[in-house]
Amino acid sequence: MVRYSAQVVIIGGGATGVGILRDLSLRGISSILVEQGDLAHGTSSRFHGLLHSGARYAVKDPVSAAECIRENNILKQIAPECVAATGGWFVQLPGDEVDYAQAWLKGCERTGIPVHEVPLEEALKREPLLAKEALRVFEVPDAAVDGFKLVWENAKSARRCGGRYLTYHRVEAILREGEGVAGVRGENLLTGESFTVEAGMVVNATGAWADRLAASAGASLEVVRDKGILLAFNHRLFQRVINRLRPPGDGDIFVPHETITILGTTSEWVDTPSDNQPSDREVERMMTLGKALLPGIAEKRVIRAFAGVRPLHRSDSEWAEGSEGGRVEEGRGRAVSRTFALIDHEAEEGIKGFLSIVGGKFTTYRLMAEKASDWVAAKLANDVPCRTAAEPLQPELPAHLRRRARALLPCAAAEKTLQRLGRDAAAVLETIARDPDKGQLLCECEMVTVAEVEKTVADEDAHHLADVRRKTRLGMGTCQGAFCTYRALPLMWREGEKYDPLSGELIRFLNQRWKGIRPVLWGDQLRETELTRAIYAGLLDLREGGAAG
């Protein structure tokens, strides 16, 4: 039994959870975050990577829209390394309601979202793949945000001021003491050991799992699990976010995300948080829907499909609204407000020191964390004000580091390494300076050096190759792990027991890749997969549910 203690325990290592951890740590409140997997392995990385301007919600959900534009501006300031300020367009196509455009423009004005119209000719020149039938194009300050990176930056920042996090630790029970909570008990999934965190306050930030966790403490909470599927295209098709100017629907957002483009999404209620397997039917539907904005979509290579489960909070009044909207099956999630809710279980059920935070969006994670932290601070009579709206997430990159990277690494690899690692790049660069062979690219699609993978593999927070993937993007490019997976093995082998048995780790990783490739097996990705299969099932003789499936 391993015991920890803190003033506050936060359950859930998504954006909201780490946001709270950072906020509380900055206020000097001792906090521990407990996460059953790796940070950002759930909904916080299973979205299209859109940092909303709020324009999408300007008509139906002005509260959410106003929150989005405020947070959009804040994140661009405090986390420029995680945000690509691409801008976004709303494109009206023939057949889209003309009235909606008027309502939308009014909504944007009311909520303070800056909009300007882009002349059509110019729009088609800047985005040559966009549907030529476009009628009107408006620009808004949408952006792309790196979910993995933002979550980890929050965690690192929190750690710098004393915050702690335990990954691969599953909470099994919320400990009670009299009328209040006393912490949590659970299991370290890596070692099988049990652990407790003693804390007078428990914050439930488990997203799609929030209702189940609350129920385990005898509290009630209704969460709608709203599954959305997304397609990742091989390269950048658009230079900015492309939305359709109509009431939010399925398959109407393209987001240029790092080297790829993500098309999203759908809205379908599911029963379990882990239902994130995209189906062939859903993929086909996305390809059909996406065609409206991108007529050449059928020719574009899709490298994988994935799905996330949005945790929407449903209160009775909103449920009624949802019914009225008539969107009973797919899409009914959109009738539920995208703003968030804080549920003080003392007020609801009389459980002292227990707070749940649900709903909201990735874009508003900081605001959610601020509100949750305000609540915690008030209970602890801590009056340090929230600093997360102004304090940069990551210290600025020193100029000499950039020069060093450029001197040691080829072409784009230097830039990408700095983007991913920030100041942590220094150690990687020193390794390469000592041993230039480690400057070779292990993952060629995303340009990750041997030294960077070596460092990440050895990182105390990495326990599986998928954890390394989330930090480095290894395996996320065109080849989807065909070449980098086996190349990473010797580095993992050198870590001894940590990744033992390696064959299990290999199969596990390839199967995770396979899960997303399986629904998009056509054209060039099919050829790629055959090559992957030849390598692992043929050359390496990998069997039993390996890549060959």
């Binding site: 950048r236 065109t478 060039d524």
Partner: protein, 472 residues
Amino acid sequence: MYTQTQWGEEGGPGPKPAAEPGGDDSHRQECGDPAGLDACVKCGICTAHCPVARAYAPFPGPKNLGPDAERLRLEGVALDPGCLAYCTNCKTCEVVCPSGVRITDMILRARRQQGSAQAESAKSRLRIRDHVLGRAEYLGRLGTVWPEFTNTVLATKLTRRLLQKALGISAEAPLPKYKKRFRLEKGSAAELTSESGQNGGKSVEGTGSSSMGRGAAGDPSAGNGSASKQVVYFPGCFVNYNDEATGLAVIRVLEHNGFEVIVPGFHCCGVPLTANGRFREAEGNARRNLALMEPYLERGIPIITSCTSCGLALKEDYPRIRVPAAKRIGAQTYDLFEFLWLLHERGELKEDFLEVRVPLAYHAPCHLKAQGIGTPSLRILRLIPGVKAEELDAGCCGLSGSFGFKAEKYELSLQIGHALFQRVRQGMREGKFKAVITECGGCQVQIAQGSGARSLHPVWILAQAYGLGGGT
């Protein structure tokens, strides 16, 4: 796509079936992926075969600079401009790619984009060098005014040291000697007729024709029905300024087979310009050449090249220019020996060969390989009694046009060609062959420099077999 050997119904190497507008690329062009980025499966075969990557470890190779970096370029990530200039444009990557990715195209496009973005910051010395080396045509015109003088000056150590210091052109590199300017001989079957008065009698822009006594044959509007026995010859800068004799041998061989050879006053094909980052000018040359070719193309007259780089440009680059003639050029261009082989297959090649008893080694230039027509010269020469020709198959010579002339790349260029030179030297030492034949003028110069072997265009062997003189 250029390997088809079918003939027109009437026989004779007439026009091949007209290519689709834009050739194979049109489909990719439409969907915004002209070079086939999505087709890359990351196998790395291109980099495994890249002659530069093999010889020079810091060069990240065609996969990295092409399809890998392309995804980052599209993202807008700043890339190091230095690497791109180490691509020699040999196109080996495109030849070996199992997915049909236009890797060199991708790299050239990146250079083009970078060129416009970074023109201001580039070192002016190297800008001037690119300016100079790209202009094979102007240099040639200048050099052939008084070739003996030019060669003498260029041969002095002082000049070469100055060129290296001032322009970064290697003092060691084998700059080809200038010869008398190529023009059709008067009196012989090959005759030059300047287009009446248009150019004040200057031969440079005139159209030559081996008229066989029909003075107006060079005028495409004159005569009809004789198209099947006419060909247009695109000599290229190397023949024009450094090796006129080979040009004349080409013409004699074609005439020997009953063809009237028309030689309009073509400009440089554009390959040296492209290789030195002068993309707009290269396209200008292509347009001017296409305008000169248009009347012949319309009449179905084949265009013959003897330089494999010119041939590749005409077959692959010209079809992408947006002018009507571009639709025909790809399908109507033939490498000389490709053309002769087609004649042979039809039983129309004159095979009245004299015995040529000379053991030869053959080096296939990269840009011949890129044409995808095999090695037709080797096939033809092997028809000649007595000819023994061994294919060297030792990879790129390393010169790649002007790449090997550049001071910082000269050593590397010899390094790339090292395996080839070794094989040549060994073969010579063992008495296996006495000379190296290869179509490309650059390869000839580099092989001579690297191995000391005599090297010449295969047309000379054929001319000798026909009793037209020349030979080894």
